[in-house]
């Protein structure tokens, strides 16, 4: 178990992974009732469900590790933007369907590598959640890769939109592989892989799918960062205003 690790660093790390799932899950859920076709609407809603379910595990464990009596719900609904630790990529606006799918693909290709590594975590609780989530994320990645290829290698219009989505989103992927002192503490305790160690496998997946999708890899570009430290774009505030409204307006409300 992670008893040797600094608990504050472990909590920080759990919030990062939990907040990525929560904010992306919320973003994807915004499509519910608005997708181009019914099947895609259902698929997006189901994927959002998977991500929110995984959030409950990660933030539940974060609350347990923190040991201050908070719950996963309280972490999700009662923290303000500066306390969120998700990467900037997942708070990017949905844009069109292609942009949403490109964001999902870039995330899924990283998410699966992270979860595969976490299955071997020295903390049994982390390994259990990862073993559960990785099976779901395998379906997410298959779907997003399929659609990036179909739309990239599609019509002139769909290809142009996918290239634009890629060029817009790629500068937000670098943050997934950055490491700070909190990461170093959980890595040293054997809880998690070093973020940069996931880059090679991610690059391979992304390059292969983009090539099949006939899209042009943006190459080395400027990379935005800040979300993992709580420095967010303005978009997160709007997300929280909607997501947290009920608990802010009616504190403690339950079903």
């Amino acid at each position: 178990m992670g008893s040797a690790v600094n608990q504050a660093a472990f909590f920080e790390w759990l919030c990062r992974i939990g907040d990525n799932c929560l904010i992306l899950g919320h973003r994807v859920s915004e499509w519910c009732g608005h997708s181009p076709v019914l099947e895609e609407d259902i698929a997006l809603a189901n994927q959002a469900l998977d991500l929110i379910g995984q959030t409950q595990f990660w933030l539940g464990l974060a609350a347990e590790v923190e040991g201050k009596g908070r719950t996963a719900d309280q972490l999700a609904y009662l923290r303000d933007a500066a306390a969120f630790r998700n990467v900037l990529l997942v708070e990017r606006p949905n844009g069109d369907f292609g942009n949403t799918l490109m964001r999902q693909f870039l995330f899924d290709a990283w998410h699966i590598e992270l979860l595969r590594a976490l299955e071997k975590s020295s903390d049994a609780r982390v390994a259990e959640i990862a073993a559960k989530a990785v099976k779901e994320v395998a379906y997410h990645l298959e779907r997003s890769a399929d659609l990036v290829i179909r739309l990239g290698d599609g019509t002139e219009e769909s290809r142009a939109r996918m290239q634009k989505a890629l060029d817009t989103l790629y500068p937000y992927t670098g943050e997934l592989f950055m490491a700070d002192a909190s990461d170093e503490a959980v890595v040293a305790a054997g809880i998690a892989p070093a973020p940069p160690s996931l880059k090679a496998a991610w690059d391979a997946t992304v390059s292969q799918v983009l090539a099949e999708a006939t899209l042009t890899h943006p190459g080395e570009t400027y990379q935005h960062k800040g979300g993992r430290k709580g420095v967010h774009s303005e978009h997160l505030g709007y997300i929280l205003a909607e997501m947290q409204f009920l608990q802010r307006a009616y504190p403690g409300a339950t079903w």
Binding site: A43, D50, Q54, F57, K132, E136, Y139
Partner: protein, 175 residues
């Protein structure tokens, strides 16, 4: 339990749980689904260990309530439900009887060993037709079927359509 009564055996309790339907797919029971991982008496307390299907499956909460109600109705008052994540639930645990019930209901049962693994080689094999994943239509039995969407009406299902009888149907995909 009421004082002086003999407490029911684990086998008897498992029998009761086999009558509790899954809230989303009521033709199969919780034991058919393979989500009851353990039933054990710890002193006077009955502990039922349940594993979730999908992380975000909305039925999970309802399932716990249904288990509790079924057992309280049988007189078990000292009851604790525990969640077990590991090993993670797999469709391989759906019983043979459960699979037949799914088929009869119009849902193609899972074909073991065909879960997505997120590896591109598997995806390419599927697209090129070299994977051997053939889903038979639960209505007419034809194997001439095609996938419409990886995600169906619930996270656990994919949407298919039969090219012969033209009926759309759900496939209980492997995980």
């Amino acid at each position: 339990m009421q004082g002086g009564e003999e407490r029911p055996s684990v086998a008897e309790i498992r029998g009761w749980l086999s009558e509790v339907p899954d809230p989303e797919i009521p033709v199969i029971s919780l034991t058919d689904l393979g989500i009851i991982r353990d039933v054990v008496w710890q002193g006077e307390t009955l502990v039922v260990t349940v594993t979730p299907t999908y992380s975000g499956c909305p039925a999970t909460g309802v399932i716990n309530l249904d288990i509790e109600k079924a057992l309280r109705d049988r007189g078990i008052t000292d009851l604790r439900l525990e969640r077990q994540l590991s090993p993670p639930w797999t469709t391989d645990w759906i019983t043979a009887e459960g699979r037949e019930k799914l088929r009869a209901y119009g849902i193609a049962p899972p074909i073991d060993g065909t879960a997505a693994d997120g590896r591109l080689a598997g995806r390419i094999a599927r697209l090129s037709g070299t994977s051997n994943l053939t889903i038979a239509c639960p209505r007419c039995g034809s194997t001439q079927t095609r996938k419409v969407s990886q995600f169906g009406s619930t996270p656990c299902k994919a949407s298919y359509v039969c090219n012969d009888c033209l009926e759309p149907f759900d496939y209980f995909k492997c995980i």
